[in-house]
């Protein structure tokens, strides 16, 4: 450990004072949506001064939120679920004031320092679905206050950066990441180490490492989740990426309106500057690195790497032609590299524990974990970090806890609106980048939406295509017009107005978009339809080719969509 870092850690350690009671309330988008702010405010107002009440990130167990985690001195941490004002009153009365733990409200406990555990409350590490996880990028979720630099340091934060700057060359760091087999978590699943080496090989004095937290994928909330829970892990990963590629500048790119992630990222960057972890001569080394938080307006395509650069430069976020590739001429014409939030958040752990440890997790070609967002008709909705290699069926049953509606699960929508739909036949597919691609869907950024028997596939696909049409940047016509036509045809199908040959036209348009579009938005735009045709072709045929008049009730009403378009 460098002398400077050692001093920083000791200073923070000496400032810690322990309160008798520590209460953690989970926040983030999901916590907010379930009302955890009200619980936090109530606790702040009603509890006395020897209590430390913290807003922490969420554990990922969204279906149990609001979650309140109470640590009384010499007792294990007890976690209470689905807390409302009435419950929190009872919990504080009984547990905090009378030491009665109220087992009916508690769902798990954590004994951190050998405290004697309570009977009949599972330990969190044995609690299903939590126990299926291997938490690397999400290891601090629900543990630390995302706004606290000190708490991150106390959990071993920035140790990897200190280790790298002290004892590793940039080439060592790059080699380690390459050997770990880490692949991009944004969707393309390209080797992170190889991607970095393109930039590292360029000798320009100004080089950019860009972190993409545009995250416009409906159904995915893990990028925002990392910034809501633990922004310093990402920042440490970004600085390590800067060091490995010998870059001068970093940008954290977030969509305006993702308020909590923006505030957390800004605070983290500010604290890192104030503590000598950003700027000139980081931790006394000769490495200089500047990081800025950049905002964009609402545009899904801004998540595409070259469109993202256009947005940072303040223009319409439309993709650029390649070549030149970003590693030659990217942001402001300088060599650049782009990584997703999740990808960078694995890096500190890899540097601390070594590439081999990371490779031990997951499958041969997809090492490590996937951060999965489960939503829809499934019991255990939330965000889970699961090692690659589990089958989709096991993921649904064990982690997801099965259908939440009492009806059988019919389909999975994976990889966002440009991903695909998988039917039951694919539930034995292993979660792995390549295996899922072979099955016709992509893992993408990790969003998995579960639909039960009642979901109308054509209607769901219409919704995805409507999103793609709305978000097309309009630069190239196969995407701009193709999506519009496909939406028209699907609209007709849902309203029993299909014209003969509609299905063939959709297929032709889709194939043309694949070859004729400049960026992934158009190239992948046909994915939802092509994958759905693989598993549910009869539903399309029924709706689009056999013109049996169904009764009025089974008609799907006109879909309500935004009318704003990009001129």
């Amino acid at each position: 450990m460098s002398e400077i870092f050692n001093q920083l850690v000791s200073k923070i350690e000496s400032q810690q004072s322990d309160e008798d009671i520590l209460i953690r309330v989970g926040y983030g988008a999901s916590g907010q949506a379930s009302g955890s702010k009200k619980i936090f405010d109530w606790l702040k107002k009603n509890l006395k001064s020897n209590t430390d009440i913290r807003m922490v990130g969420a554990l990922g167990l969204s279906y149990l939120e609001p979650i309140v985690d109470i640590k009384i001195k010499d007792k294990p941490r007890v976690l209470f679920s689905n807390v409302d004002i009435e419950k929190i009153q009872k919990i504080t009365d009984e547990y905090i004031h009378n030491q009665n733990v109220l087992k009916e409200y508690a769902f798990a406990q954590i004994s951190e320092d050998g405290e004697k555990i309570f009977n009949n409350i599972p330990e969190l590490d044995n609690f299903s679905p939590f126990k299926y996880q291997k938490r690397i990028a999400t290891r601090n979720f629900g543990e630390i206050d995302p706004e606290s630099f000190e708490q991150y340091i106390l959990t071993g934060g920035y140790k990897s950066l200190d280790k790298a700057l002290n004892s590793l060359t940039p080439e060592d760091v790059l080699e380690e990441v390459k050997n770990s087999g880490l692949r991009g978590r944004g969707g393309a699943a390209f080797s992170t180490g190889i991607k970095w080496s393109f930039l590292a090989g360029n000798n320009s004095p100004i080089k950019y490492v860009l972190c993409n937290c545009e995250e416009g994928d409906p159904g995915a909330f893990n990028d925002k989740g990392i910034l809501e829970n633990d922004p310093h892990t990402l920042l440490e990963g970004l600085i390590l990426a800067g060091y490995a590629t010998k870059s001068s500048h970093g940008h954290i790119f977030i969509r305006q309106g993702h308020t909590i992630p923006i505030e957390n990222a800004r605070k983290a960057v500010k604290d890192a500057y104030e503590n000598g972890l950003l700027g000139k001569n980081i931790l006394g080394s000769d490495f200089n690195f500047e990081v800025e938080v950049s905002l964009t307006g609402d545009s899904y395509v801004a998540g595409e790497e070259t469109a993202l650069m256009e947005a940072i430069e303040g223009k319409r976020s439309m993709p650029r032609f390649r070549p030149p590739f970003p590693a030659q001429a990217g942001l402001w014409g300088k060599p650049s590299n782009i990584n997703n939030v999740k990808t960078l958040s694995y890096v500190p752990w890899i540097i601390e524990n070594g590439a081999n440890e990371f490779k031990k997790i997951g499958t041969e070609k997809s090492s490590g974990t996937a951060i999965i967002c489960l939503s829809g008709h499934i019991n255990n909705r939330g965000m889970y970090e699961i090692p690659f290699g589990i089958t989709l069926g096991d993921l649904l049953q064990n982690v997801g806890g099965g259908s939440s509606t009492g009806k059988q699960i019919k389909l999975l929508q994976t990889g966002g609106p440009l991903g695909g739909v998988l039917g039951k036949e694919a539930f034995d597919v292993v979660m792995d980048f390549d295996e899922m691609a072979k099955a016709g869907a992509i893992l993408g950024s990790g969003g998995i939406i579960v639909g039960d028997q009642n979901v109308d596939v054509v209607d769901l696909i219409r919704n995805l295509v409507a999103f793609n049409q709305f978000e097309s940047c309009g630069k190239c016509f196969p995407c701009r017009l193709g999506n519009t036509h496909m939406l028209d045809i699907l609209d007709r199908a849902c309203n029993e107005k299909s014209i003969k040959g509609d299905l063939d036209v959709v297929k032709k348009i889709g194939e043309n978009m694949k070859v004729g579009s400049l960026c992934g938005h158009g190239q992948l735009g046909y994915n939802p339809i092509s994958s759905a045709l693989k598993f549910f072709d009869q539903e399309f045929i029924d709706k689009m080719t056999t013109h049996t008049i169904r009764d009025e009730k089974s008609k799907i009403p006109e879909m309500i969509l935004p009318t704003r378009t990009r001129p």
Binding site: A29, S30, Q32, A33, S34, G35, K37, S62, E65, G216, D217, P218, G219, A220, F221, K224, Q256, G257, T259, V269, K270, Y273, G276, L278, G279, K280, E292, V293, S294, L295, G297, D298, Y300, A311, I312, G314, K315, R316, C373, S375, G376, R381, G382, G447, I449, G451, V455, D459, L460, N463, L464, F467, F470, P557, M559, I560, P562, R564, R566, P567
Partner: protein
């Protein structure tokens, strides 16, 4: 005369905002800040809740761009609006998770209750209704947001109750 002086007030407010945004920090130990047409538009929308015509002109002037350049950017990003919003914003998600959880029925119900049929303001100017592609709390679907505060498990009744509390 009156509208003129109002306009001048608005212009000077916008100019002041742009100048303060552009103040680059002189210290070494603080984050850098890049000022662009987009960053100016975002801060105007943040402060005024819409982009007045005057802001387009002022930003063009400030960034040494044409009005056309600035309009080009402003019209591209769908979060920008060009008329003053209602007193409260109500955003309802129509993303796929919310879609299979009944978002369309909710939208239809809310249209009926508010007496509007698109993304617009209610007649009394109190509420601006917007459709969101994803609010990011899919586990609590269907989701809506009032003044950007997220609320899950939406139903027409729950949304109307939230709105009533505002009035």
């Amino acid at each position: 005369m009156n509208t003129n002086s109002k306009n001048n007030d608005l212009r000077s407010n916008i100019r002041e905002l742009l100048n303060s945004e552009n103040k680059k920090s002189s210290q070494d130990s603080s984050p850098p800040k890049t000022v662009t047409v987009l960053s100016c538009l975002l801060s105007v929308q943040d402060n005024f809740h819409y982009i007045p015509d005057e802001a387009i002109e002022e930003i063009a002037d400030f960034m040494d761009k044409t009005i056309n350049d600035v309009w080009g950017v402003a019209s591209f990003y769908t979060n920008f609006r060009f008329s003053p919003p209602g007193s409260y914003s109500l955003d309802i998600c129509w993303g796929p998770t919310c879609h299979i959880s009944g978002a369309q029925e909710i939208l239809r119900g809310i249209h009926k209750k508010l007496g509007i049929d698109s993304e617009t303001e209610t007649e009394d100017g109190k509420i601006s209704l917007g459709y969101s592609t994803c609010l990011g709390a899919c586990a609590q679907a269907p989701v809506y947001a009032v003044n950007h505060e997220l609320i899950g498990n939406a139903s027409v009744e729950k949304i109307m109750d939230t709105i009533k509390e505002l009035k």
